[in-house]
């Protein structure tokens, strides 16, 4: 989830903070101090996050495009100049553009807005933007909510009391609601000083930038892992079940499935699963090995050299072309697989399925998946030549069956022509003739289209009269029999118009001996 830091560089940020001490700070200095702390934390613990820095006043500027180079961000921050008045709407528009250009419109993002709470005056001020919200055309819409999901963290370099003396707090709250309600407004507690700004950014880090640590477990094989980016809580149905679901910190593998069987399933999000070294006594010394390791290796190298389950799992998943089904919570599953970034690099990845008992129709209910050893015979075959997947749906879809639709005249005409075509090839096509005839009959009965039944009966009778002398005698019998049956059905008489009833070929002396006629 990329982060955009939107830094207020308006003149009001240069307001000095009243302090008893010797040094005089501007609000901007406090803001920079707080952001430095955030960047340092990210460089240490949240290194893979892409972050961009945007400064704004009445205009906005992308100071640092999305990067993992936190030094670059830090440097740009310290070289930040002061500009004129605050105009948040334009800046938010800018953020929207930057985000979509880089990540498209589906990638969730975190926006850290750092401001002193002086949100401008007159046109372009937040107050003005919010007041005119409803009087805008399609082309001048307020940028919030963004097309992509966004968490908005507003870092106020001022305290709540100060914000409440004006309507700043109300406006910011309204902004947060507009953005979709995800996020929070942070204010400083007590006097404006380095300590309180640290406390405020500390809270932000706590809330949004703490690495997600978990234990990956496969029976007794385990590994401590970091899951990046942090899996977000998911809401299934805000009405029936309004409590968001969280990924558990114990990720339990329940079994394995071939990649072809899982078949590119839809996922909510993807995450790297990175093994981490937890400061524990290395007690994993096996039968007679690692007796005399060099003592002076750093912990990192030590960690690299002690076997880790993630690496084993990754290697085997890659070689076998399989995924591991992993349980994330009650009735919530995901999959682990090897993802190649390039030819050389590959990684263990985890994708989250939609929460629920049956996230993928072609797997069926996950709770009904069990070990192959419980099956009477191996469902994969002795030589892996078959597979129990995909699970067949209980009923067929319309495109997988012979559905009759006559909404367009051509549909009906085709069906009638099919019958006539076969009628002319009786008795060779007896079976197909009756099959098509019965299909038409069923549809006509269901649609209450008795007129059609009469019409087709007449057509068949006419065909009968048009039969050439060379025609097989059975043809005439079958045609008049079929015509008669259709006529009977068109009366609605329950004896002949029953839906499940089928017109069967007339048994004639000829059909029994059957010179070339297809048997029934």
């Amino acid at each position: 989830m990329p982060t955009v830091v939107l830094m207020d560089a308006s003149l009001s940020m240069t307001r000095p903070v009243s302090l008893e001490g010797s040094e005089e700070f501007q609000r901007k200095n406090l803001a920079v101090h707080g952001l430095t702390m955030l960047f340092e934390h990210m460089a240490m613990n949240y290194r893979l996050e892409f972050t961009a820095l945007v400064a704004f006043s009445s205009l906005w500027e992308l100071m640092v495009p999305f990067t993992r180079d936190y030094n670059a961000l830090q440097e740009a921050l310290s070289n930040l100049e002061d500009f004129d008045k605050t105009c948040l709407e334009l800046a938010l528009q800018g953020v929207s553009t930057i985000m979509q250009q880089e990540w498209g419109s589906a990638c969730p993002c975190q926006l850290v807005l750092v401001t002193d709470g002086a949100l401008g005056i007159g046109r372009g001020s937040l107050r003005h933007s919010l007041a005119t919200l409803k009087q805008r055309g399609e082309d001048k819409k307020f940028p919030l909510p963004f097309p992509f999901p966004c968490k908005l963290y507003i870092m106020c370099i001022s305290n709540a009391e100060e914000l409440q003396t004006t309507d700043a707090m109300d406006n910011l709250e309204q902004l947060l609601i507009l953005s979709g309600g995800e996020g929070q407004i942070f204010t400083m507690e007590g006097p404006l000083c380095l300590k309180s700004v640290q406390a405020m950014f500390g809270k932000l880090i706590e809330q949004a930038y703490m690495p997600f640590h978990a234990v990956l477990r496969c029976g007794h094989l385990t590994s401590d892992v970091q899951v990046f980016p942090r899996p977000e809580p998911v809401m299934i149905d805000e009405e029936v079940d309004p409590v968001p679901k969280h990924v558990l910190t114990e990720l339990e593998i329940v079994g394995f499935i071939e990649i072809a069987d899982i078949a590119s399933p839809p996922v909510l999000s993807r995450h790297l699963v990175l093994p981490i070294a937890v400061n524990k006594e290395a007690d994993e010394v096996g039968a007679g090995t690692t007796d005399e390791m060099e003592e002076d290796t750093s912990t990192n190298q030590m960690a690299g050299k002690s076997p880790n389950f993630c690496v084993l799992l990754h290697g085997s998943l890659k070689v076998e072309g399989m995924v591991a089904l992993v349980q994330l919570g009650p009735d919530w599953y995901g999959m682990l697989y090897s993802q190649a970034d390039s030819k050389k690099k590959s990684n263990l990845m985890m994708s989250l399925f939609e929460p629920g008992p049956e996230p993928l129709p072609w797997l069926g209910k996950v709770s009904q998946l069990g070990p192959i050893s419980d099956a009477p015979e191996n469902p994969y075959g002795e030589d892996d030549s078959k597979s129990p997947f995909p699970v067949q749906p209980k009923s067929k879809r319309s495109y997988a069956q012979n559905v009759t639709v006559w909404i367009k005249a051509s549909g009906l005409q085709t069906d009638v022509q099919k019958i006539l075509r076969n009628a002319r090839k009786l008795p060779e096509k007896t079976q197909t003739f009756y099959k098509e005839l019965n299909r038409l009959r069923k549809a006509a009965l269901a649609f209450g289209f008795w007129e059609l039944l009469k019409g087709v009966a007449e057509l068949l009778e006419r065909e009968c009269t048009l039969l050439p002398d060379s025609a097989h005698p059975d043809a005439a019998f079958q045609l008049s029999h079929a015509a008669q049956q259709l006529k009977l059905a068109s009366t609605g008489d329950s004896q002949y118009a029953a839906f499940e009833h089928n017109i069967t070929p007339m048994l004639t002396d000829f059909s029994g001996g059957g010179g070339g006629s297809d048997r029934l």
Binding site: M1, W103, G104, S105, A106, C107, G219, L221, S223, P229, E238, D241, P242, V254, G255, F256, E258, I259, A260, V267, L274, P275, G286, G288, T289, T290, A303, V311, L312, L313, H314, G315, S316, L317, G321, D341, S346, S367, Q368, L369, G370, P371, I372, D374, A375, P388, F389, P393, S395, K396, S398, Y399, V405, A409, L412, Q413, A446, F449, E451, F499
Partner: protein, 698 residues
């Protein structure tokens, strides 16, 4: 994503009164005479559908699309109304299919034109529809039961689609009032019942159908709130294709559908085999499949065009050949069931498993945005991610924890994964302990991993073919008498190996110089085997028997060994060089040869060097870790002739690799210099020890 939104329950109320027998006046020529037979034949008069037929077939089409895209959870209740109401199906899932409704409709038949029009009214059906909406569905019941105290979170909403021929706008208002009144009455009734739920929200969609050529007596009216529970809209439509396209638009609105047209689908039919004929298919699906286009405002850029049905647009995507490889895992952000707009055109190619779809762009660049994929006869439109990944350029797994370890048991774990593959079981198939299949899968993983060393150099027994039968059986939940026997045989076989002083694949990785002595090797092996079996000893009496067998058969009690081992460690180190050589040479099952030893040792050194450089787990598994069980006959000959050739080194290596793939013949395992003695038991009975004599290395 609300489960119990208005579209959870849809009631169709179709007018079955005598006036519905009136012709739609849309004529269909079904006697298409072929030229050759046209002479002198009077063509059949064209047929025309009645208003009833039009209403029924369009409502069936609505249901077909609905059931294709939502096979469950979106329910239809079909009611026809004449002098009374006829309910054709229930809310139950098994009643939800087009076939079911068609059967019921055939039984009802077209309206009876001779029925007294005074007795007939659509009102009977509308009242029944409201009553039906109050009835609880199995999904509502399930959700309420699960929520217990919070059962009121389960909402009851629904939609009534009424297909009728109304007299006037006043008549329409009368119908609306009647529905509202009935809702109020029924809600009172439902409040006191367990099987009924009051209606919180009801959408009434009145479709007035009139014959072609007539003027309508009813005016269109957009959706309007009549009260807090009821909203109503009126559509006045001519029968025939206008009605069909109206209901097509409605089903899209009601179920959030959108349209995609797939172009460039290659013809597969024989008559087109030599041409490059292509065709198009229009599909409906949930509109989220267009999420990326909608959000980015790309809908027009993506080649969307207005369809003749008006209102809605279709997005054009191009069929890409060749098909995608099914073993590739695409990053897919959504998969949506589809329904073809015209079911008569059955895209044959759609039955193939997966096809990538390309979004045409003005710039001419190609973007694969979707994939059409068939799973068990159901076709899904997968939405693929085509934007930059936030996870790009991650640190490789080989750079992290455990990344420098080179001898993971990748192949063994692969085998483990195959054994722990999942398979679907029938609903409610619990085992004796009442566990659902997934819990049994977890339990199996637990059993199989009680003792599972991750790297080759941490284990001896898993590098030995001889242990395989026992290792496979001991993890089982229940062992048969035969299984126990097999395990015991395995143990006896190991005892035999020890007696013969067969070499073991003890790893020397991590320790300088040579590995431990032969008797030490066996002690390590026995200890490990005991560790494995001990983790399963609590499973059953029979598992216990296996452990007892091991304890009884192995040479020394483990405690004593441990003490000895510690005492001996120093002494071991001293003669490592010599021992290592011995071990290698013994692996070859040949007599002493300095040159061979040297060559092998060099090879081994090279190998261990390369191991350090290479990345795990992609590097090949280090060889030479499993016992050499067989050698070609030529080897002893080759070796005695002089320096070891590259060829013989290679042959050795291949032979060794091959030997790992099969279980060796018992005869060859027990053979000496590749000669197995027959009828050994006879000699044993005579008290002769043949094995010691045959051994040339000692």
């Amino acid at each position: 994503m609300r489960m119990f939104s208005v579209s959870h329950k849809t009631v169709f109320v179709v007018d079955h009164c005598p006036y519905m027998t009136e012709s739609s006046r849309q004529q269909i020529e079904c006697d298409m005479l072929t030229k050759s037979r046209a002479q002198g034949v009077i063509p059949l008069a064209p047929v025309s559908k009645s208003l009833w037929t039009c209403a029924v077939e369009c409502s069936m089409e609505y249901c077909r699309i609905l059931y294709d895209i939502y096979p469950t959870r979106k329910l239809v209740n079909y009611i026809v109304s004449d002098s009374e109401f006829h309910i054709l199906n229930s809310w139950r899932q098994e009643d939800q299919s087009v076939q079911e409704l068609m059967t019921a409709l055939a039984a009802v038949g077209p309206p009876n034109p001779r029925e007294d029009p005074e007795c007939c009214s659509i009102l009977h059906g509308l009242v029944a529809a409201v009553e039906s909406l109050c009835k609880i569905t199995e999904y509502q019941h399930e959700a309420r039961t699960a929520l217990v105290d919070l059962a009121d979170r389960v909402a009851n909403r629904g939609r009534i689609i009424c297909l009728t021929n109304a007299k006037s706008d006043t008549h329409v208002r009368m119908l609306e009032d009647c529905v509202l009144e009935t809702i109020q009455e029924q809600n009172k009734l439902a409040a006191g019942s367990d099987r009924l739920m009051p209606i919180q929200q009801c959408e009434l969609v009145l479709v007035h159908i009139y014959p072609q050529g007539d003027d309508t007596l009813v005016s269109d009216r957009p959706k309007k709130e009549i009260s807090s529970v009821l909203s109503s809209e009126v559509h006045s439509v001519r029968a025939g294709r206008h009605l069909a396209s109206k209901l097509n638009v409605l089903v899209q609105q009601h179920f959030d559908l959108a349209s995609t047209t797939i172009t460039n689908i290659p013809m597969k039919e024989e008559q087109h085999a030599n041409t490059s004929a292509n065709y198009d298919v229009e599909l409906l699906h949930h509109r989220d499949a267009h999420m990326e286009f909608i959000k980015s405002g790309d809908l027009h850029m993506a080649g969307s065009t207005s369809r003749d049905s008006g209102l809605k647009e279709t997005v054009t995507l191009k069929w890409c050949t060749p098909r995608t490889n099914s073993v590739e895992l695409h990053y897919c952000t959504g998969a949506y069931r589809i329904s073809p707009v015209e079911v008569n055109i059955r895209g044959r190619s759609m039955r193939s498993r997966s096809v990538l779809l390309e979004q045409p762009r003005k710039s001419g660049s190609k973007v694969i945005s979707h994939m059409l994929s068939c799973h068990g006869g159901e076709i899904f439109l997968h939405m693929l991610n085509s934007t930059r990944s936030t996870l790009e350029d991650p640190p490789s797994i080989s750079e992290g924890c455990g990344g420098r370890v080179t001898d993971y048991r990748i192949t063994d774990f692969g085998e483990f994964m195959r054994e722990n593959r999942l398979t679907p079981f029938a609903d409610m198939s619990l085992d004796a302990a009442g566990r659902p299949p997934i819990e049994r899968a977890k339990a199996q993983l637990e059993r199989h991993t009680r003792y599972w060393p991750m790297i080759i150099s941490q284990t001896t027994i898993f590098n030995m073919q001889a242990v395989v039968p026992l290792a496979n059986l001991i993890v089982k939940d229940t062992m048969t008498e035969d299984d126990v026997l097999t395990c015991q045989k395995t143990v006896y076989n190991l005892v035999d190996m020890e007696r013969k002083n067969d070499p073991l694949p003890i790893s020397t990785v991590g320790s300088r110089g040579k590995g431990p002595k032969r008797d030490e090797q066996y002690r390590i092996m026995w200890n490990e085997l005991e560790t494995l079996v001990k983790t399963h000893v609590g499973t059953s009496e029979r598992h216990q028997q296996v452990l007892e067998c091991i304890i009884a058969c192995r040479s020394k009690p483990p405690e004593e060994e441990e003490r000895k081992k510690r005492g001996r460690k120093r002494e071991d180190k001293e003669d490592k060089t010599e021992k290592n050589g011995k071990e290698l040479e013994e692996k070859m099952w040949t007599q002493d040869s300095d040159r061979l030893k040297g060559a092998m040792e060099r090879e081994k050194e090279d190998q261990s060097e390369s191991e350090v450089i290479k990345d795990s787990p992609d590097s090949p598994e280090p060889f030479n870790k499993k016992p050499r069980l067989a050698t070609e006959e030529i080897q002893p000959l080759e070796k005695s002739k002089g320096p070891v050739s590259l060829f013989s080194l290679w042959t050795n290596r291949i032979t060794q690799a091959n030997s790992r793939k099969h279980q060796e013949f018992a005869g060859r395992i027990n053979s000496v210099n590749n000669k197995a003695e027959l009828y050994q038991h006879l000699k044993d009975e005579n008290g002769l020890d043949v094995h010691e004599n045959g051994k040339a290395t000692r």
